[in-house]
Amino acid sequence: MQFFYDGQIRRYLTQTIRVLSNFVVKYGDGTLVRVPVMYGDSDRQVGSIISQNSANAVASVPRIAVYISGLDIDHSRLGDASYVGKLNFRERDIQVDNGQQTYNQAQGKNYTIERLMPTPFKLTMKCDIWSSSTEQKLQILEQIMVLFNPSLEIQTTDNYIDWTSLSVLNLSSVNWSSRQVPVGTENPIDIATLTFDSPIWISPPVKVKHLGVITKIITSIYNNYQTDSDSYVQGLGEPLTTGTSFLSDLLSQEVTTVSDYIIQIYNGEAILLTSNEGYTPREPNLDIPTRGGSAAINWHDLFDRYPGKYIAGSSMLYLTQPNGTEVVGTFAINPLDSTRLNVTYFADTLVPNTGIDSNGYLDTNQNYNAAASYRPSSPGTFDAIVNPQTYNPGTPSVGLRLLIIEDIGSSGHTTEAWGSLVAKANDIIEWTGSQWHVIFDYTHFSDTMVWQTNIYTGVQYLWNGVQWVKSFEGEYTSSQWRIVL
């Protein structure tokens, strides 16, 4: 087992010494003299240091010594040993000015604390009071004993999380003197002893976790289930296992999130929409969407409900794609408009571009040969989206690729800008150094998805068999996105 130690019993000693500290006795001339309190089971070397390593040092009187005389498990207070108590906390934010850390008034990190049921014990401590006279003993005892009626509350910590910190000192007995009457020929020192017992707890460490707030609930209704028979075969010694049930025939599924917001992803921005609100058009395409008319929603409204602390540039947005993968990006609230998130996507989480060689083969085709194409280093990209009827490419570099959005050319005819090229809208064309030719003819890919990135804008596009659309931008329902602060 890994080492852990929190000094729990030590703190009970500390607090008991605190309770008995700062009492004074009064001399005849009115002088008030404090009674020191120390632990009563010192190391011999430390005892020597305190007495200056000399037989001539003089011990001061009065003195109080506190020490443990017993520790027993308290069966009457035992509880469910497997019980775990949970607490959720939001901390205030900490700001640093000139190296000085201070709390400010904003929300900071937040946590869930799990505490395992502690073990109860009864701690017995003795308090020996050495006095030089009976009057002195009476002074000390009168001041101390008035506090016990019959108990005195003590706390080992003021930590809100520590459910074991509160205890009491019960004054269980008083031994008036260590001396006997008559004293006899000797003159021993006089020690009065107070015995305290204290119900205490010893606790294992807690678990500190991120705030455990449920942000999404998926409710599914299935029409059927099957149970595997166990794999036990008599005589072969295979372990006996129970059958596993499988749900099948999903009838309906409802996803409820902490906010039920849907979001619109467009051009590196994310905007919150209510569940019955939408952008036009709802499906992603090349057009700029326009909002449905509801009031803009502040992203802080959402962040306050999520566990964690929003950190610009570090908090992350996850967008679930139809194939089950997720596009991930970090975000920051637009400093001018807190209803908009600026999102920076991790390129590695985007769907890889589909390579197209100069012969028009996709990278899934066995004849695919990018190395021999005019654009060997970046066969999954094109350089721009152009309207061939209004754009003149001039004399481009070899391997330049363009996605065209209008038809160009016809058989047997040439154009000044494009030569003898004949292509349709949605085709990708490439410059060989002497002529333009089509490398992606959309008519051949009506049942194939192709991803290409526009180098000019950095936006990835998807050929979905019908049209080019932005590959992941668009509207995501409440079940298709999540954030991690």
């Binding site: 607090q15 605190r18 700062n22 003089v58 011990a59």
Partner: protein, 486 residues
């Protein structure tokens, strides 16, 4: 011819001869013994009672406490006497007890010459006399070697030494049973004397107690433990100021946000403003439980304090009323158009000190008085910072000046603040053209710097001159006992 007998009833020449030989033997072979002569119990008339009387004459026969039969406050002659003594030096071993190291066999039996002792000291040795054996000084103790630690003993028993009887059957020696002294009340007058350096000169600001006693070390160790205890649990209850309470709309459960376009935006929350949003102010703390009220608003919001609410408060202003015990925190709510109680500051330092004020300790840590026998009263509108008060009542002297505003009381003893020329101060009560003028005094602070007393709150104060006061804290056995003849 008389019968032969070495015994003689009188102290004759034989006795004197032998006694001189014995004295010379002590002089030649004995060791120096420094004696601190016990003079008697130190009593005073101020706190004398029937069973703890005050003696007009200090005498070794006085008994300080006639009930417990103790002499606790002992007076010793400041003159240290030197005599000679003999004893068997013993091996010493340390015994580790709950109070530190003790010498196991710390008792010595010292023999001294009777007549020499009487001659030099003037009386027989008694229990309570303190001796120092200079030959046992420790020059190499664990201090900075500036001081040698002397060895002190207190006489515990006095008797005649069995070996001190001569052939004439007359005694020549006392046998003193001596134990090591402790730094205790009994020997305070010895240990409070200045320590001396190697030349025997007193060292400034250093007493024998400072170099010999374990008291200072024990107190510093005790302080360190208490400091740790205070670090673990500074106050009773639980600290929640580091936690954040989210303001939530009770109807929708959504966080309450305040935006820059709202006119009620709290500028004190500027650090929380990010873009156009700031969280709203929660109406109560989200962390409840036993003793969590500390008088501070949630989330570290700014607050004022005083004994009366401020004028023109804004929504969600916090204010701590310090005239409540415990202090009470309020929040201004525009919906109810009033101040709403938030919490009481119930957390309290758990270390015993002179100001701690729980239910029980408020009966002990109480230095307040009640004032009676008023001889002059006036009501005057005063302003903050005012130091001089001109009343409309005729000049009148009294023993006490009491200024009261709501729950705030300023009280002064007239005799404690007389007229002085340097610094110039006219006295607390002054005749100003036949009317009473009050000049607030300057009182030393903890650093002994004089601090001018001022009026802390503006308002109508009651000025009262009284001739009697009673301490609020009185022992149960003595409170309101008869003060006059029946």
């Amino acid at each position: 011819m008389p019968r032969l007998s070495l015994y003689k009833p009188e102290y004759g020449l034989d006795y004197n001869f032998i006694d001189r030989q014995v004295s010379e033997m002590f002089q030649a072979g004995g060791t120096d013994v420094y004696l601190h002569k016990y003079l008697g119990a130190n009593t005073s008339a101020d706190n004398a009672t029937a069973d703890q009387p005050n003696y007009a004459q200090t005498s070794i026969t006085n008994i300080q406490d006639l009930l417990l039969l103790e002499n606790r406050d002992r007076t010793y002659d400041t003159q240290v006497y030197r005599i000679r003594g003999l004893y068997n030096v013993q091996q010493s071993e340390f015994s580790l007890s709950q109070f530190g190291l003790f010498i196991d066999n710390d008792t010595i039996f010292l023999e001294i010459h009777i007549n020499d002792f009487i001659k030099y000291i003037g009386r027989k040795p008694i229990n309570g006399d303190v001796i120092e054996l200079p030959h046992l000084r420790d020059d190499f103790a664990l201090n900075n070697l500036s001081f040698a630690l002397p060895r002190y003993y207190v006489v515990d028993d006095v008797g005649r030494s069995s070996g001190g009887f001569s052939v004439t059957w007359q005694p020549h020696l006392y046998r003193l049973r001596c134990k090591k002294v402790t730094d205790s009340q009994q020997f305070a007058s010895i240990f409070n004397q200045p320590a001396t350096d190697a030349n025997g000169d007193p060292v400034a600001n250093t007493t024998l107690l400072d170099i010999l006693s374990t008291q200072n070390t024990a107190l510093s160790i005790n302080d360190a433990v208490v400091n740790q205890a205070e670090a673990d649990a500074a106050k009773s209850g639980y600290e929640t100021r580091q936690f954040y309470t989210l303001a939530v709309d009770p109807n929708t459960g959504k966080p309450v946000l305040e935006t820059a376009d709202q006119s009620t935006l709290d500028a004190s929350n500027a650090s929380n403003i990010n873009a156009a949003a700031v969280n709203g102010v929660p109406v109560r703390t989200g962390y409840t439980g036993y003793l969590v009220g500390d008088g501070f608003p949630v989330n570290g919001y700014a607050f004022g304090f005083g004994i009366q609410f401020p004028n023109n408060p804004a929504d969600n202003d916090f204010y701590l009323r310090v005239d409540f015990l415990p202090n009470r925190l309020f929040r201004y709510d525009t919906q109810v158009n009033g101040w709403v109680v938030v919490e009481d500051a119930v957390r309290m330092n758990m270390t015993n000190n002179d100001t701690r004020s729980t239910l029980k300790t408020s009966f002990i840590n109480n230095s307040d008085y009640i004032y009676n026998d008023s001889v002059a009263v006036d009501y005057i509108e005063l302003t903050v910072g005012q130091t001089q008060i001109n009343t409309s009542v005729s000049y009148q002297t009294g023993l006490y000046v009491v200024l009261k505003y709501q729950t705030t009381i300023l009280a002064y003893v007239v005799a404690d603040h007389p007229m002085t020329t340097s610094p110039s101060y006219p006295g607390i009560l002054v005749n100003n053209s036949g009317h009473l003028q009050i000049n607030l005094p300057k009182i030393p602070d903890v650093n002994n710097n004089l601090v001018q007393q001022t009026i802390p709150y503006a308002g109508q104060w009651t000025i009262n001159i009284c001739n009697n006061r009673e301490a609020q804290r009185q022992s149960l056995s003595t409170a309101l006992r008869p003060k006059a003849d029946f």
